[in-house]
């Protein structure tokens, strides 16, 4: 049995060869170098780096703020998606296009812009300051930056799922006397649940690795407002490549778990969808 099925179309050898070569050269070999660099460490040195108080503090902030940002996007992502799918209002198309802005806007730009808006004398920060809420240079600012950059993932995951909700079912339920909240809980939520969770995971995965927008708004104080990617950069700047690689492997492992979760959630969503359609 041959490796590929025969086809009348030419170019399999050329395109497959080029694809695997280029993928290996640009992505796989460099990532392998990272894993090898960490693997060449003595396990005790490895643990010393990844379990140091400073590293643990950075995980706490990176994961805590990312979870919070993904949760905020779970709520606001649903509200935004619902508004864009169900309601017609002036400017809806522009808003819909703007949702993707954080994808297109360089992270350094969102970083300095958010910091300026939420600084003590900024447009919004000046109203929060008297209330005792400090956003810039605190964990709150980190969460805010992560919320902005991961927002499109949540909205774009939920939008197509909301379009799939069968309005006839909602109407039927209401005719039979169900209230709006009951319809939401029993008809809308089950249909969009896989999409909501996928959006949550995508937003979380993006937020955990984010660097550019955060370093401007975070105070970057060790143990307090220092995210894990920044700690990696600090190790690199001190030419401690092994330490950087160790932390990098921890983050890479988390990315893999996230990727796996996303794939499983999407498979679940597809299975569910087929069952609902039947």
């Amino acid at each position: 049995m041959s490796f590929s099925k025969p086809s009348v179309l030419p170019g399999f050898g050329l395109t497959f060869g080029f694809t695997t070569f280029f993928l290996s050269a640009i992505v796989l070999l460099p990532l392998a170098a990272l894993v090898l660099a960490a693997a060449s460490m003595h396990w005790k040195d490895f643990l010393d780096v990844v379990l140091s108080a400073r590293a643990l503090g950075s995980y706490k902030l990176s994961f805590g703020a990312s979870l919070l940002a993904a949760s905020i996007n779970l709520v606001f992502g649903f509200i935004l998606a619902w508004t864009l799918v169900r309601y017609e209002f002036p400017g809806r198309k522009i808003i819909d296009a703007l949702i993707d802005m954080p994808f297109a806007l360089p992270t350094a730009v969102s970083g300095i812009a958010l910091t300026t808006v939420f600084a003590q004398n900024g447009w919004i920060g000046r109203y929060l300051e008297p209330l005792g809420i400090k956003v810039a240079y605190t964990w709150l600012g980190v969460t805010l930056a992560l919320t902005l950059i991961s927002m499109p993932f949540a909205v774009r995951a939920v939008q197509p799922a909301l379009l799939e909700v069968q309005r006839e079912l909602e109407d039927a339920a209401e005719t039979l006397g169900a209230g709006r909240l009951y319809v939401f809980r029993r008809i809308i939520l089950p249909t969009v649940l896989p999409a909501l969770l996928t959006g949550f995971t995508l937003a979380f995965a993006r937020a955990v690795g984010e660097y550019g927008s955060v370093i401007f708004i975070a105070g970057n104080l060790p143990m307090k407002t220092e995210i894990t990617p920044l700690l990696i950069v600090i190790h690199l700047e001190e030419f401690d490549y092994k330490g950087a690689a160790a932390l990098g492997v921890v983050m890479l492992a988390i990315s893999f778990v996230m990727l796996l979760t996303i794939n499983l959630l999407q498979a679940w969503g597809r299975r569910r969808h087929v069952r609902v359609a039947r």
């Binding site: 086809s7 694809t19 993928l23 170098a33 935004l80 508004t83 806007l105 812009a113 990617p229 890479l252």
Partner: protein, 290 residues
């Protein structure tokens, strides 16, 4: 958009539905729209407006003066050169990957697709760090490169490699599902009628996927020009030499040169807006992501 909505779910449907409490619906609708708009205004529109407000805070001439600084011009040039190399390279890769994956059946295809998407799941810092580990002074090839007087890290090749890594999947992930969906019938007909492989590609496949290609390329370009984390790790921040626009923004900002930082940022914001406009126009042609 309307064509894609199933089951007559047109937004703004004014027909009365059974059991519908009109005033309740109006209230809920008003709440959803106002919460959405307030959220977007706070986290998205205010920062966008701030970029331009800060850039022009000291007037138009101060704004324009930023672009007479040779370091700023060097940063713009470096960003353009990087994008000019990275976007076409990843486009060729995306076309090759899509042809191999969409036109042929082979074992391990889903693994290949997952591996192509891998850079999207990796932190930008790691994307840059891997090249430091390979080519940095204390890296795997560091000594060899130094002996041969080749610099990759803290130089243009490193910036290009890191950018290529980060934007690697953009064109491929757009083209693969599109070409799979369009099928092979027309290509097979062309080949059977005697067209060569390249002719089939340029005359049959390329016109079919052109909007997907444009879509992938503009998103790839936006990310390539705006990438910060990965490039920051490999660049070394040498003013006028290895400073891209996003890195230059950081330097100016940290020097409290806010007009300068936001003036450069305003260019990248305009690029992002332009990207969204082109993207929306491409979607209007009937080509849609999902």
């Amino acid at each position: 958009m309307a064509a894609a909505l199933p089951h007559g779910t047109l937004a703004g449907d004014t027909t009365r539905r059974p059991g519908q409490h009109t005033w309740m619906h109006a209230l809920v609708r008003w709440m959803f729209i106002s919460v959405s708009l307030t959220f977007l205004a706070a986290v998205l529109l205010a920062p966008l407006a701030t970029v331009f407000a800060m850039a022009f805070a000291k007037g138009v001439s101060a704004y324009l003066h930023v672009f007479s600084d040779p370091d700023t011009l060097a940063a713009i040039r470096l960003t353009l050169i990087t994008a000019l190399v990275v976007v076409p390279t990843n486009t060729v890769f995306g076309l090759a990957a899509a042809w191999a994956i969409a036109k042929f059946e082979f074992r391990g295809k889903s693994i290949l697709i997952t591996l192509i998407d891998l850079p999207l799941a990796v932190s930008p810092v790691i994307s840059g760090m891997v090249f430091v580990l390979l080519f940095g002074l204390h890296g795997w090839f560091g000594v060899w490169l130094q002996e041969h007087d080749i610099s990759i890290v803290f130089a243009l090749p490193g910036i290009m490699l890191a950018t290529m890594f980060v934007t690697f999947p953009y064109v491929a992930r757009e083209l693969i599902p599109l070409m799979q969906q369009l099928g092979n019938d027309e290509e097979e007909a062309a080949i059977t009628l005697g067209a060569g492989g390249w002719m089939t590609f340029f005359r049959v496949t390329l016109p079919k996927v052109r909007w997907g290609l444009v879509y992938g390329m503009i998103l790839c370009n936006a990310r390539a020009m705006g990438e910060f984390g990965a490039v920051s790790v490999v660049s070394g921040h040498i003013r006028g030499f290895t400073n891209t626009m996003p890195l230059h923004i950081e330097i100016l900002y940290n020097e409290y040169n806010f007009v300068g930082a936001f003036a450069v940022a305003s260019l990248l914001t305009l690029l992002a807006l332009l990207t969204l406009v082109v993207k929306t126009l491409v979607e209007r042609t009937g080509y849609r992501r999902r």
